[in-house]
């Protein structure tokens, strides 16, 4: 009987620095054990418990797409003990991975409908997974129009610039990238995500919206979502809480009777309406 608390070991294959200040990096990991690799089946929006032995463990959203078969990616901001140590890792280092955990985005509900993805700042990681997943040639036809509105504080803070560039050349998605404040070389949009979302004005008809971002962005985006007439049951958000076990036992990530690790992290707005505002 294998303990659910024992991680599978992976090796750091590649590290990509994502922003100018170098406090956000994407770690590409490969499982050491082929069976573990095969068993790791996930959907966009799920997360893993990432660990460094001797340092600790923390939950990180999966940034790669389930269609990326050879590796998994996690984009990590340097904030706490584990993430700081992770940032000191080099290629070849060993990282523990448990999971995948959580419910993920409702791709089944999105099928046959337009999808609007709204992200701000560092919270874009699992939205990138979702975007990549929908854009994959094996999946693209199953979804309607795809709109991605993504904003960062400044051009240097935009994640996945390599993806944004490639996506910008495609004609099967409406990609709107904005920064709060541009620099001399910035030729794209300037403005906060809520305003740009309003300007983009995606249709809510037969559409699903997914929104992730810092609390302030969410607060100002909610009125726009309402204005655009996206119904609470068609609007999803991914929440963050402090977690330890990832499997609904250690008791710290609850919002009301729901555990964010097990019942979330993705909730529809109408699910959230009945939960206490304690997050």
């Amino acid at each position: 009987m294998r303990s659910p608390y024992t991680p599978s070991l992976t090796v750091v294959d590649k590290i990509i620095s994502e922003n100018d200040v170098n406090d956000i990096k994407t770690f590409q990991l490969a499982f050491k054990d082929q069976d573990a690799a095969k068993a790791f089946k996930y959907t966009p929006g799920q997360f893993s418990e990432i660990s460094l032995l001797g340092v600790g463990e923390c939950p990180i959203g999966i940034a790669s797409s389930p269609m990326d078969e050879d590796y998994i990616q996690f984009t990590v901001k340097k904030v706490g003990v584990l993430t700081t140590s992770l940032h000191n890792c080099v290629e070849g280092d060993v990282v523990g991975v448990r999971g995948p955990y959580g419910n993920g985005f409702p791709t089944d509900i999105m099928e046959g409908r337009d999808v609007v993805i709204v992200g701000g700042g560092f919270a874009f990681t699992t939205l990138r997974s979702l975007t990549k997943y929908i854009l994959h040639e094996a999946n693209r036809k199953r979804f309607g129009n795809l709109t991605v509105v993504y904003g960062a504080r400044n051009p240097g803070e935009l994640l996945y610039k390599y993806d944004l560039e490639a996506w910008g050349e495609r004609d099967d998605l409406n990609l709107v990238v904005t920064v709060d404040k541009g620099d001399d070389s910035w030729t794209g949009k300037e403005g906060f995500v809520p305003a740009i979302l309003k300007e983009t004005s995606p249709s809510s008809e037969n559409a699903v919206m997914v929104v992730c971002g810092p609390p302030a962005m969410i607060r100002f985006t909610i009125p726009v979502i309402e204005e655009l007439k996206f119904q609470p049951e068609n609007t999803y958000i991914s929440l963050e809480m402090r977690m330890k076990c990832g499997i609904g036992k250690c008791g710290r990530c609850n919002i009301g009777s729901k555990y964010v690790c097990k019942d979330g992290p993705v909730f529809s707005f109408d699910e959230l309406q009945v939960l206490p505002k304690e997050y």
Binding site: R2, P4, T6, S51, G54, E57, P215, R242, K244, P276
Partner: protein, 357 residues
């Protein structure tokens, strides 16, 4: 898979009651020790608690205060999840071995057995199950002890726990004076007394005595609370100023959680270096300010108001939503343990009396 004697999967047997003379109890315990690892109430450094024993002389059934809950027999305060070591450039991890044989846990009160069945809900109802807990739980025969001497802080009956209840037990000992009436409730329970000449068939008089004792014990519970539909009440007063008042004296320590037989929250920590060490889980408590503190500095429960509310909501509302039962068995340990004498009975009475503002 060994049949577990929890509330939802118990094998209820109707076996004829036996009796054992009190003077023969130590002989029975010593005979168990020949075959099983035995855990029983003992007194260690002045604190009564359940611990592994090596002789019947260590068993203390009349401890001067209510013993610590037996949760630590299944969910130790500090437990190794796995050890790891880097050998010749290769990282190896090793989980602690599963228990090799069955254990017997002796003389657990009905409230504490009930608490174990509640902990089962958390650790074993959904996948992945908590294998560390499950292994110990499945391989432990629970010998209950009817509670003929309730403490002044007990309020189990108000929460639907019967001091003579047998839910979750494999075998039960009921004190009727100079002997115990012993009843096997599962095959596993029957197995440990089968063939022992110390147990005789109960006589009619013994069972009449038992009725009398049980009635007296239930009547001896002084606290009576009405918590009917408390989960609805709690929802209604979630934002009430009541929480600010009731939490004012809480200093945010972990005594109530650590003494509670149902509280199961834990933390996971690494002990060691990157070359060698272990990952452990340690009890944690929702009253600590850092319990929900994010690495970013954000904290959804910033003051004792939110934290006391969480504790009460978890036990009397969220747990009902998730498992259909209260996460409190009315043992009263938190009442005497609290350094500020915060009394959960008073908090409950306060909740029921509050009209949402």
């Amino acid at each position: 898979m060994i049949l577990r004697s929890s509330s939802n999967r118990s094998v209820v047997l109707k076996m004829k009651e036996k009796t054992i003379e009190k003077k023969d109890l130590s002989g029975f315990i010593d005979s168990l020790l020949e075959e099983y690892q035995v855990f029983a109430p003992t007194i260690a450094e002045g604190i009564p608690r359940f611990d592994r024993i090596s002789s019947s002389t260590q068993v203390s059934l009349d401890s001067p205060k209510l013993e610590r809950s037996p949760k630590e027999v299944f969910f130790p305060q500090c437990e190794t999840l796995f050890t790891y070591q880097l050998i010749d450039g290769k990282m190896t991890m090793e989980e602690p071995p599963a228990l090799e044989s069955e254990r017997v846990l002796l003389f657990v009160r009905p409230c504490d057995v009930k608490a174990l069945t509640l902990m089962d809900s958390v650790f074993t109802s959904w996948e992945p199950k908590d294998t560390n807990y499950l292994d110990k739980r499945e391989k432990t025969i629970i010998v209950g002890r009817a509670c003929s001497r309730p403490w002044s802080t007990c309020f189990c009956t108000s929460l639907g726990v019967d001091p003579f209840g047998k839910e979750g037990m494999d075998l039960v000992f009921e004190d009727i004076g100079d002997k115990y009436v012993v009843e096997a409730l599962t095959e596993r329970g029957g197995k440990i007394i089968d063939g022992s000449s110390l147990f005789k068939d109960a006589e009619k008089k013994d069972l009449e005595n038992l009725k009398e004792v049980s009635k007296k014990a239930t009547e001896a519970i002084r606290s009576e609370l009405d918590v009917k539909e408390i989960e609805k009440k709690l929802k209604a007063i979630y934002d009430d100023s009541f929480w600010g008042k009731v939490s004012e004296k809480c200093v945010g320590c972990g005594v109530c959680s650590y003494l509670c037989p149902v509280c199961h929250c834990f933390d996971v920590q690494d002990e060691g270096t990157e070359l060698k060490g272990k990952r452990v889980r340690i009890w944690d408590a929702c009253q600590y300010p850092i319990f929900t503190l994010h690495a970013s500095g954000h904290n959804p429960r910033t003051s004792s108001r939110e934290r006391i509310r969480q504790r009460m909501m978890h036990k009397f509302s969220y747990f009902i939503e998730n498992f259909g039962e209260l996460a409190c068995v009315g043992c009263g340990r938190c009442i005497k343990g609290c350094p500020g004498n915060m009394d959960i009975r008073e908090v409950l009475t306060g909740i029921m009396a509050t009209e949402a503002d």
